[in-house]
């Protein structure tokens, strides 16, 4: 029998399962960093973590508190400058997986981290901005997005495209000349979404135990498609939960 766990824990565990030994992963801060380190301490000890602070092959023994945490430099195979991490490592397509979060995501997996509201000059909410995300979303071989699913975060069209998912649909990434294949999965607290191979629309492919397709639909700002093969996510194993909780406990340290 499996211990009780929260929806956030299930989301993080499901995200960690996207990484494999040898995968080279460009890690955003927050949920992606937690998931990537969980993967490193469970199924994928040889995952290669790259942070935009220029730390390549970081192996922190606790959760870094920011992408510039000193533990990343201390444990990295090599520390490079920020221009180098973008130019030599991200831009040429050397990274397998870009691991991002978002403030808003839309039907075509476009990401907004810039402004809420449609008037850029007079926003309802000014968000932090692009950071490394536009080029991570463009150049990594594939992208994994992790964020909590609500009607405010899962919208039909993002107010501002900070980072391109599939633009306005099939063929757009190629037309734009983006080298990576775009978001492969979006992992939420309700389930797992993937772009439909034909339409590029995010579609529910798995629900986490205890959630239903209806729950996910209710948390989505467009009529969410559901895969005919809808799966149920394996619940967190004891090991996954144990490691995750021990990692989370290092945050205050």
């Amino acid at each position: 029998m499996t211990a009780a766990y929260t929806a956030d824990e299930m989301m993080t565990v499901a995200a960690a399962r996207q990484l494999h030994n040898g995968t080279v992963c460009f890690v955003g801060i927050g949920l992606p960093s937690t998931a990537a380190n969980l993967a490193r301490f469970t199924r994928a000890p040889d995952v290669v973590l790259i942070y935009e602070s220029g730390t390549l092959g970081a192996k922190p023994d606790r959760l870094p508190l920011s992408i510039g945490d000193g533990i990343l430099a201390e444990t990295a195979d090599v520390v490079v400058s920020v221009p180098e991490v973008f130019n030599y490592w991200l831009q040429p397509g050397r990274i397998d997986v870009g691991f991002l979060s978002a403030a808003q995501i839309d039907r075509y997996a476009n990401i907004n981290t810039t402004v809420i509201g449609t008037d850029y000059r007079n926003p309802k909410v000014r968000l932090p901005g692009a950071g490394g995300a536009p080029e991570i979303a463009a150049s990594c071989r594939e992208v994994v997005v992790v964020l909590r699913q609500t009607p405010r975060t899962f919208v039909d069209r993002v107010d501002f495209i900070t980072s391109v998912g599939f633009g306005r649909g099939p063929g757009d990434r190629r037309r734009l000349g983006l080298s990576g294949s775009g978001p492969r999965v979006v992992i939420t607290d309700f389930g797992i979404l993937s772009p439909d191979p034909e339409t590029c629309e995010l579609t529910l492919v798995s629900v986490h135990p205890g959630s239903t397709a209806e729950d996910a639909r209710a948390a989505t700002g467009w009529p969410l498609g559901v895969s005919t093969d809808l799966a149920t996510t394996d619940p967190p194993t004891d090991e996954e939960l144990d490691v995750l909780r021990r990692l989370e406990a290092t945050k205050g340290a």
């Binding site: 901005g129 692009a130 900070t162 080298s179």
Partner: protein, 272 residues
């Protein structure tokens, strides 16, 4: 050759009203002490430039030092919003703040072009996003060999760049290690530079993964021990994570912010 000065002397000599000012630091080695001295000296109408404007830029903006911000990610890392930054953008308090917004890759390449003495840099970036529509500093450029269209961004060549580093020798050679960020490029891109350091030592033994800025490439060096607090200086101090969380509450309210600045910055003597 760099001149070794006190922090107040360095700020007075290097930073003038209306300047384009870079203060870089990627979580690590953020030059807070220098920022506070700028606030105390009452600089106005600055164009602030930084990839990751954080608390020290929130303070400069909230104290009315800045009229424009060139940046790529403005948040309290690991905590949330920068409330003074948001108040300036959303409500023009205490002043309107013009934005010139880029991605990290674009900003890094703008510094790189500045450091290289070139007027622009080329990258694969911004395509398909809504960022180019908001600025005239993102333009297409065509490869003269393949015909491929890429993106150009203009060089950043600030009037002055300020960074914090671990140490310098008596000739003014500066050494830093740990997370390196874009500090070297930001210094080399600038007309003038001021580097605050934890200490001045007789000689710099090499450190793994270091950056050394030779004395001939910088303008002023000032000793400011703990000058990156609440950020950290690898080998000298740890990040004060608690303060980043506390800042959320301090900065949320205009009066609380002003009171805190008065007590903790305006009435404090500058670092020796």
């Amino acid at each position: 050759m760099a001149e070794i000065v006190s922090l107040p002397e360095g700020i007075a000599a290097a930073v003038h009203d209306g300047d384009t000012l870079v203060m870089e630091g990627f979580t690590h080695l953020i030059p807070f002490a220098a920022g506070h001295e700028i606030i105390r000296q009452g600089r106005r109408d600055l164009t602030l430039v930084r990839m990751t404007p954080d608390l020290v830029y929130d303070q400069l903006i909230g104290m009315g030092c800045a009229s424009k911000l060139i940046f790529s990610w403005g948040g309290n890392p690991g905590v949330g919003s920068l409330h003074r930054f948001r108040d300036a953008v959303e409500n023009a308090w205490p002043l309107p703040l013009e934005l010139e917004e880029h991605s990290h890759a674009g900003m890094a390449n703008r510094y790189l072009a500045g450091a290289s003495g070139l007027p622009f840099a080329v990258l694969r970036g911004y395509v398909g996003t809504d960022l180019p529509a908001q600025t005239d500093t993102i333009r297409p450029i065509t490869c003269p060999f393949t015909g491929e269209v890429l993106t150009a961004v203009p060089a950043l060549s600030p009037d002055v760049t300020i960074i914090h580093a671990q140490r310098a020798d008596r000739k003014g050679n500066v050494q830093m290690w740990g997370i390196l960020g874009v500090q070297k490029e930001a210094v080399l891109a600038a007309k003038r530079s001021l580097i605050t350091v934890e200490e001045i030592v007789d000689s710099l033994d090499h450190k793994p993964q270091e950056v050394v800025l030779p004395s001939f490439a910088t303008t002023y060096v000032a000793v400011a021990p703990g000058g990156s607090h609440p950020s950290y200086a690898q080998g000298y101090s740890l990040r004060d994570n608690g303060f980043y969380t506390e800042w959320d509450a301090i900065s949320k309210d205009r009066d609380t912010f002003l009171r805190w600045m008065d007590e903790n910055v305006m009435r404090r003597a500058p670092a020796a």
